[in-house]
């Protein structure tokens, strides 16, 4: 078995290998990590001489490596300087010195480019030593949890193990920690799944203070802080990463800082360890971008390509026409707002990754000029996908030439696509529940990486991203959507909505061609399967909130679905990033991602409305579900409003459990940085008062108790013993949730209120919920 977790200390590596009943350490003393520098030859000679006296440097050498994908693609190499270091934790320091001291003193800025600098030690070690850190046997996890208030108070007596309190009766910290210690010895877990990373220093320090020498979290004594906490901005959103810790011989999964754990659990994590080469603990805290980058670095290394530290490679100069063609977003068909019956959803499974693989789109295959033949297996540059015979290897609309030779991105993604396919097939064969759970977890983990790979190509700091590649993928996606639209319409179908890879179609003639035949043909033509994503008895597309008709009058019949000619060019529109949504000229504009429908196999599909929003309190979400059920039963907005009336009465009687009114909000900045007196600010003040730390990127939970009150009195936190709530405020929330459901039928808030005021005898259906 190969080792699965690693510690770096004083220039040595301790690797832990799982054994039948535990894990064994091995000390490696001679590991010397390397960074690489490229630049003009004389500058490198000079730098090499300057580094010779640096005590951090073990050795230097000149080697031939590709400094980008293009170089590897055309079979070229650069003669770079390899710098070996004594200690892995000094790589970044030396990198900064090379740029900030050595370059600065003797050369123009930007003379040196650095490579293999920002790799986490464990990832770097496995990469350098050719280690696959995938655990070789089933892992034994132990879950250790503490609630946030208890964590803030440092109350270790409230610790829970595997979901059970350790000791509810005595509340004696020493007893609790002793029990924890015994459990650790007896179970000998390989992975500690902790609710907060801060538990590590808390437990260790408390055990030390109480003189409990035998109580320790690691397989050996000691613990280390790896990184401090940190607030960052990514894609315009604030995020927070808590401090990270390590204990000897055990991998730590901090569930408050693990996207993968929360999405896919231990199974998904283990799968990603194998595919990214990140050891378990590093995989656990990695974002999807980090995981994808790790896999890319690994595959790049196989091709002798170094991982750049900073993003120096710019896009190529191009003319305005090409820039204009490339600067468009994904193709979208404006939704027809309204209630549609007999709708089929079809989608191109994993559209973007499949475009990358099918059309060999990769940073180094676009306009590479390597002299190899252009790719001919794809859709053509003449604006149509159907004309297969005329494919000429140019990216449609952009004219970039696309090489046929062995692309890097396809290499990154193809195994993931294949793995996902395999898991989906096995799931379809009805496996046992534990097996099915594992397959779902793995498939989910893969899905997240696949959906991110396209956007990541356009991310400004993506190590192997290239904007032209991002544009090319988009260009193919548009071409494919248009080809599908034409074929579907010829076959007697009408597109009622479409977003990039998903289409909703309904028959436009009494006897259209069978959908399966049409989608199979389209899939065959474009090289990407177009799959059935479910049939719906009915689907509603929700209007944009600001375009919900304010002039709708009471008593008017529900508006019929907006009728638009299937041949109209307006059904297809490209999203303009500046205007957000493409609109239908008559009738309200549809929100692109807000819809709900009743599937033919039973159950609802809901997107974008309150039910799906994380912040929506359970009571409001349950109410909206009841509205959907009423709409499905009666197909009449009045029936929905009857249910709303009953829900409002329940709310007004004070009978709703405050726990069902909790709101969860992600915070985007620190308390001091908020200028408006929002509920979030009020909640933050209350957390602050109790000494509970809330950072941007984390969430707050609260119940609105008096919206009219001042400051922090407007809300209460879940653990503050809430007895009342603000009825009016929640009533408005419930009415809004109802509006989302009836707005496709032409009803707005005013009409709902008028209907409720009428005080008619409720119909029988009101009581069927």
């Amino acid at each position: 078995m190969s080792p699965y977790t690693f510690e770096f200390e004083d220039g040595t590596v301790r690797e832990w290998t799982l054994t039948g009943d535990g894990a064994e350490p091995r000390l490696v003393e001679d590991y010397t990590p390397s960074l690489f520098v490229s630049g003009p030859d004389d500058a490198l000679v000079d730098l090499r001489a300057r580094l010779e006296d640096d005590p951090k440097v073990d050795a230097t050498d000149r080697e031939r490596w590709a400094t980008d994908l293009h170089q590897a693609h055309v079979g070229d190499r650069s003669r770079v300087l390899r710098v070996d270091l004594e200690r892995v934790d000094e790589v970044r320091t030396l990198a900064r010195e090379i740029r900030g001291v050595h370059e600065r003193e003797t050369h123009a800025p930007g003379t040196f480019r650095l490579f293999d600098v920002d790799l986490e030690p464990g990832v770097r070690y496995c990469l350098d030593e050719g280690i696959d850190p995938t655990p070789g046997r089933e892992l034994r996890p132990l879950r250790i949890e503490l609630s946030e208030p208890a964590l803030a108070d440092g109350d270790v007596a409230a610790l829970r193990l595997d979901g059970e309190p350790i000791d509810e009766r005595t509340g004696d910290p020493a007893a609790v920690l002793r029990t924890l210690g015994r459990r650790l010895v007896r179970r000998d877990p390989d992975v500690l799944v902790v609710s907060h990373g801060e538990l590590i220093p808390l437990i260790e320090r408390r055990a030390a203070a109480l003189g409990l020498e035998g109580v320790r979290l690691g397989r050996l004594p000691g613990w280390t802080q790896l990184a401090g906490e940190n607030t960052y901005v990514s894609y315009g959103r604030a995020g927070h990463s808590p401090a990270r810790y390590r204990v000897p011989g055990r991998a730590i999964v901090d569930t408050s800082n693990s996207f993968l754990w929360n999405q896919s659990g231990l199974d998904g994590l283990q799968y990603m360890v194998e595919r990214t080469g990140r050891p378990l603990q590093e995989a656990a805290w990695g974002s999807i971008g980090t995981l994808l980058t790790s896999r890319q670095i690994r595959i790049a290394r196989d091709r002798s390509v170094l991982a750049p530290w900073n993003k120096w490679e710019p896009e190529s100069f191009t003319d305005v026409r090409t820039l204009h063609a490339a600067d468009r977003g994904g193709f979208t068909f404006a939704p027809e707002v309204g209630f549609h019956e007999t709708v089929h959803a079809i989608d191109f499974a994993s559209l973007y990754p499949r475009i990358i693989c099918e059309y060999n789109v990769s940073p180094e295959t676009i306009d590479c000029g390597c002299g190899r033949p252009a790719a001919r297996d794809g859709c053509g540059g003449d604006g149509t996908v159907e004309t297969v015979g005329e494919r000429n290897g140019r990216v449609p609309g952009l004219g970039y030439e696309r090489c046929s030779h062995d692309g890097f991105l396809p290499d990154v993604l193809e195994p993931l696509l294949a793995d996902r396919e395999k898991r989906k097939r096995r799931l379809a064969a009805d496996p046992s529940e534990p097996e099915a759970a594992r397959l779902r977890a793995e498939s989910g983990a893969i899905k997240w990486v696949l959906v991110s790979c396209f956007g990541y190509q356009g991310y400004r700091n993506a190590k192997f991203g290239r904007i032209e590649c991002h544009e090319a993928i988009n260009a193919y996606a548009r071409e494919i959507a248009l080809a599908a639209k034409r074929r579907l319409e010829d076959a007697g179908w009408r597109i009622v909505h479409g977003i990039v890879d998903s289409l909703w179609v309904t028959p436009r003639v009494p006897d259209p061609e069978p959908l399966d035949d049409v989608t199979a043909e389209i899939g065959e033509t474009v090289g990407i399967p177009l799959e059935d994503d479910g049939s719906y008895e009915w689907v509603c597309f929700v209007p944009l909130r600001e375009s919900i008709a304010p002039a709708s009058e009471a008593g008017r019949a529900p508006a019929p679905p907006v009728d638009s000619s299937p041949d109209s060019d307006q059904t297809g529109t490209t999203i303009d990033p500046a205007t957000e949504a493409g609109g239908v000229e008559s009738g309200p504009a549809g929100a692109l991602t807000k819809y709900f429908g009743k599937r033919e196999d039973g159950g609802f599909t809901v997107r974008g409305i309150e039910l799906r929003q994380r912040s929506t309190p359970p009571f409001v979400a349950e109410s909206q579900r009841a509205f959907l059920e009423a709409l499905d039963r009666e197909r009449d907005p009045r029936a929905v409003c009857d249910v709303l009336g009953r829900r409002l009465r329940e709310l007004r009687s004070g009978a709703v459990d405050p726990a069902n009114l909790e709101i969860t909000k992600r915070i985007s900045r620190s308390l001091e940085a908020y200028s408006q007196r929002t509920h979030t600010v009020a909640a933050l003040e209350r957390y602050d008062r109790r000494g509970i730390d809330r950072r941007p990127g984390q969430s707050v939970r609260y119940v609105v108790v008096d919206d009219e009150a001042r400051g922090s009195e407007r809300v209460r936190l879940p653990f503050e013993g809430i007895r009342t709530y603000d009825e009016d405020w929640y009533a408005t929330s419930v009415i809004r949730a109802c509006e989302s459901v009836v707005s496709p039928l032409g009803w707005d808030r005013r009409r709902i209120r008028t209907f409720l005021r009428d005080g008619r005898t409720p119909r029988l259906s009101t009581f069927v919920e």
Partner: protein, 224 residues
């Protein structure tokens, strides 16, 4: 007949916001003039080093009577300061004596981003500006850069032969050089109220560096 005489060398256009389209107008007019004079068509003659997505194709198309006017313009966008600096270096390789114009909107903006360590910011920006300014001198062509940030404008000013201020007033944007108002018209919303003779005025009043100082590289290096 529009005639716009941009001086050769680095000109800083101190714009009110990073989204300002003043520079687009300036570039498009220049290209249109060349086309009228029958000078275009010999391949790329103008390079635009973009930052913060200033080079919106739609805005450029809006400024020209026919798309052909833009055929000699080549654009590349930078998303990091490193890319920006690389593009500046790339332009030195691409430029030749036929190059008519270099443009770099928001020229200093990316150098203030978090993904650049503090020790690198000033040096890298200085190096980019020095290169652009030198290109203007060697090629004897105008190099127009913009900045919406006063602090950075001060840095850029060290490398510029001339600076045009765009001052926001109640009436719109007023142009100034050296504190002297030169505006004969104002921006109103998205359109430009004055006529092109304004630019002639404007550029005619730009103060010049002492030619001896400009020619003496050694002196400039010391003062920089």
């Amino acid at each position: 007949m529009r005639s716009l005489e941009l001086e050769s060398g680095l000109t800083l256009l101190a714009v009110p916001t990073p989204r300002s389209t003043i520079v687009h107008r300036l570039v498009c007019d220049r290209l249109a003039d060349r086309r009228e004079a029958g000078e275009s068509g010999a391949g790329a003659s103008a390079y635009w080093i973009d930052a913060r997505n200033a080079a919106a194709p739609r805005v450029l198309y809006d400024q020209v009577s026919s798309p052909g006017v833009l055929s000699d313009l080549r654009i590349a966008r930078a998303f990091t300061a490193y890319q920006h600096h690389s593009l500046v270096r790339e332009v030195t390789r691409r430029c030749d004596p036929t190059t008519e114009l270099l443009v770099a909107p928001n020229v200093a903006s990316l150098y203030g981003d978090d993904d650049l360590p503090a020790y690198e910011r000033e040096d890298l920006l200085a190096s980019s500006l020095e290169t652009l300014s030198e290109l203007g001198r060697v090629l004897d062509c105008p190099v127009v850069v913009t900045s919406a940030d006063d602090e950075r404008a001060a840095t850029i000013d060290d490398y510029a032969r001339s600076t045009i201020e765009c001052v926001r007033t109640r009436e719109g944007v007023r142009f100034e050089t050296d504190g002297e108002a030169v505006t004969t018209g104002y921006w109103h919303g998205t359109y430009w109220q004055t006529t092109i003779p304004y630019w002639v005025d404007c550029c005619g009043t730009v103060d010049r560096l002492d030619p001896v100082t400009a020619a003496d590289r050694g002196l400039l290096e010391v003062s920089a």
